[in-house]
Subunit: 333 residues, 2 copies
DNA sequence: TGGCGACATACAATCGATTGCACGCACACG
DNA sequence: CGTGTGCGTGCAATCGATTGTATGTCGCCA
């Protein structure tokens, strides 16, 4: 006969577990589990004893064990290009709020454009690490087909080409058209566009909206990289054009801020000599000099809608943008 | 005799597990586990068969099960006041980089100043959800004493009063003194200070550094809330003082940006009429008009150092700040 | 007083991995 | 030819929870 051997677990954590509660309350773990789950089968005095034991010890269930048994982790992973960008920050804030309210927590993966890293993070879906994936990257890592089909993946802010993924977005083309129309109504006839990087879906959509209003006679857009530096560089190129624009629609606020700086350096006054229009309405947009006229994307609501759609399994509604009028735009002289 | 009953697990996930690999390779799960762990006990042809099976199926270990058995989750939780703030964003970026390199992933909890929420998130340490906790909140939730003692908790950017917690910071008092000294050397004699909220540790440290240089004759600092709005309000109050300062040292860049705006609105030119000095060197500081002179905190390195200290269990080194000279400061006229 | 039903509680299997120990097999040596 | 040495592999316990089924208890009625 062999003695029962034990495979020693690593460094006993010593945390209170359900078994301890059971012992203190004088019941079995099953009963404790049911009591905590709110089952109506555990009542009266027994339930009271269990609750007392829980309070006394400060017990909280072990989420890892629970996750293993229930095959869900109550965690959502957000994948984004870079977290050091206030635009994403506020989306995450919304995600956090909604997730927390639903009893989920949020993992953040900043991929820095590295496909390898993206894939590694997305693998968490396989490994049981997370229940859902929110993509702010504008692309989807390989091997996520089944998960996507099961409604565990959702895109936010940017549609992903060639995928029928539920997506939380505004109508970017309409928003760009609205911005351009606004400038036109002010009396501008030469409206340039500082676009995002070529090949990007958002870039294409916003270029399309702008083009619809300015027509083919207008020159090509100048492409940037959604950064302040690239906005400044783009503006410098625009100012060198033979017929200088009187207004510039920028594909995001950061590039608009860069453009503003370049305009100032060139000795132009905004909005007297040049109108500048942004996109996103990040917090800083209200504090530039002059404050930026821009399109506001409801970023917190993006986050809320993403979680709601993910947890309910229903397709998210398309959200509305707002035109925020500030002082960086005016009629041309 | 009773038949073995099964307690049905929820919706069989159908993912490949170690057992599948074992079957395909014709060995037991223990051998697979050892092979994957890199044990030298599994060699030659057996190992080759296992590796082939893994490649063929695209198997990845289930982190939840592994976490349960090993009593560790390979996850680090970062607690911060609000994620919609570029200052924290870059710290998280650093945390992410270092964590990922060490095979850890990062959970982000934005507490919005809610103590309840902070405690709920911190509870993850008990529940096995995370292995370590990084606090950017400037305070520590209750009931973390043992964890702190075990080196699972570290503070970043802000020391936590009354706790001997390993902390990643610059010398804030020295930095404030350096900023004020810089202004004094430019020839300013009336240097005001827009401070953070009263009661905050950082506020106190920076006020102390400023005070050390300006002496007791200078008036009291004006308190703000680290936001652009509060910076603007504080500046407005300063401008109403009988002897208007010729330079203002702000406790962070956001308040400096607000101050800049208020100064402009009041018709003052910066730096000709008024010098403004910031703190942190957030990305936007280089793009204000004029660009902000400021103290740079090495935020990415904060993140790296925090992870290094957490994983190695060694106290982090104190990091160095840099004075970044830009155009918002000049000699008084 | 015996039997039946309703209700509360306990037992044990299960999630997917890790690991101490036992065991099998091959080879060598006495 | 029997036993010792050593290496590689398998068995089964374990992490902490959930849950289908069995069991126990009590009351009520005939």
């Amino acid at each position: 006969m062999t003695l029962p051997r034990k495979t020693e677990p690593p460094a006993a954590a010593g945390r209170t577990k359900m078994e301890d509660i059971a012992r203190i309350a004088g019941v079995s773990v099953s009963t404790v589990s049911r009591a905590l789950a709110g089952s109506s089968k555990v009542t009266g005095e027994t339930r009271a004893r269990i609750e007392a034991a829980v309070r006394q010890t400060g017990y909280v269930v072990n989420q890892v064990a629970q996750g293993l048994r229930l095959q869900r982790s109550r965690q959502i992973l957000v994948l984004l290009p870079t977290i050091a960008n206030p635009f994403f920050g506020e989306i995450i804030l919304g995600v956090e709020e909604a997730a927390q309210a639903a009893g989920y927590s949020v993992l953040v993966g900043s991929t820095e454009g590295d496909l390898e890293r993206e894939a590694a993070l997305a693998r968490q879906l396989h490994t049981g690490g997370v229940d859902g994936l929110i993509l702010l990257t504008g692309r989807i890592p390989d091997g996520l087909a089944d998960h996507a089909a099961r409604g565990q993946v959702i895109a936010v802010s940017e549609t992903i080409p060639g995928q029928h993924l539920p997506t939380v977005v505004i109508d970017n083309e309409e928003a760009a058209a609205a911005a351009t129309t606004y400038l036109r109504r002010l009396g501008h006839h030469n409206i340039a566009h500082i676009a995002g990087p070529e090949g990007n879906v958002l870039t294409a959509q916003r270029v399309r909206g702008w083009r619809r209003i300015v027509g083919d006679a207008a020159g090509p857009p100048v492409f940037g990289a959604f950064t302040m530096d690239s906005g400044a560089a783009a503006m410098t190129r625009l100012l060198a054009r033979p017929n200088r624009p009187t207004a510039v629609f920028c594909a995001n606020d950061e590039m608009a801020i860069g453009a503003l700086k370049a305009a100032h350096l060139a000795g132009l006054r905004v909005p007297e000599d040049l109108s500048i229009f942004g996109f996103d309405d990040i917090t800083f947009a209200a504090f530039t000099d002059p404050p930026l006229t821009t399109i506001r994307q409801p970023r917190r609501e993006f986050g809320h809608a993403a979680i709601a759609a993910l947890l309910a399994g229903t397709p998210p509604p398309r959200l509305a943008f707002t035109l925020v009028e500030r002082a960086s735009t005016a009629a041309p002289r």
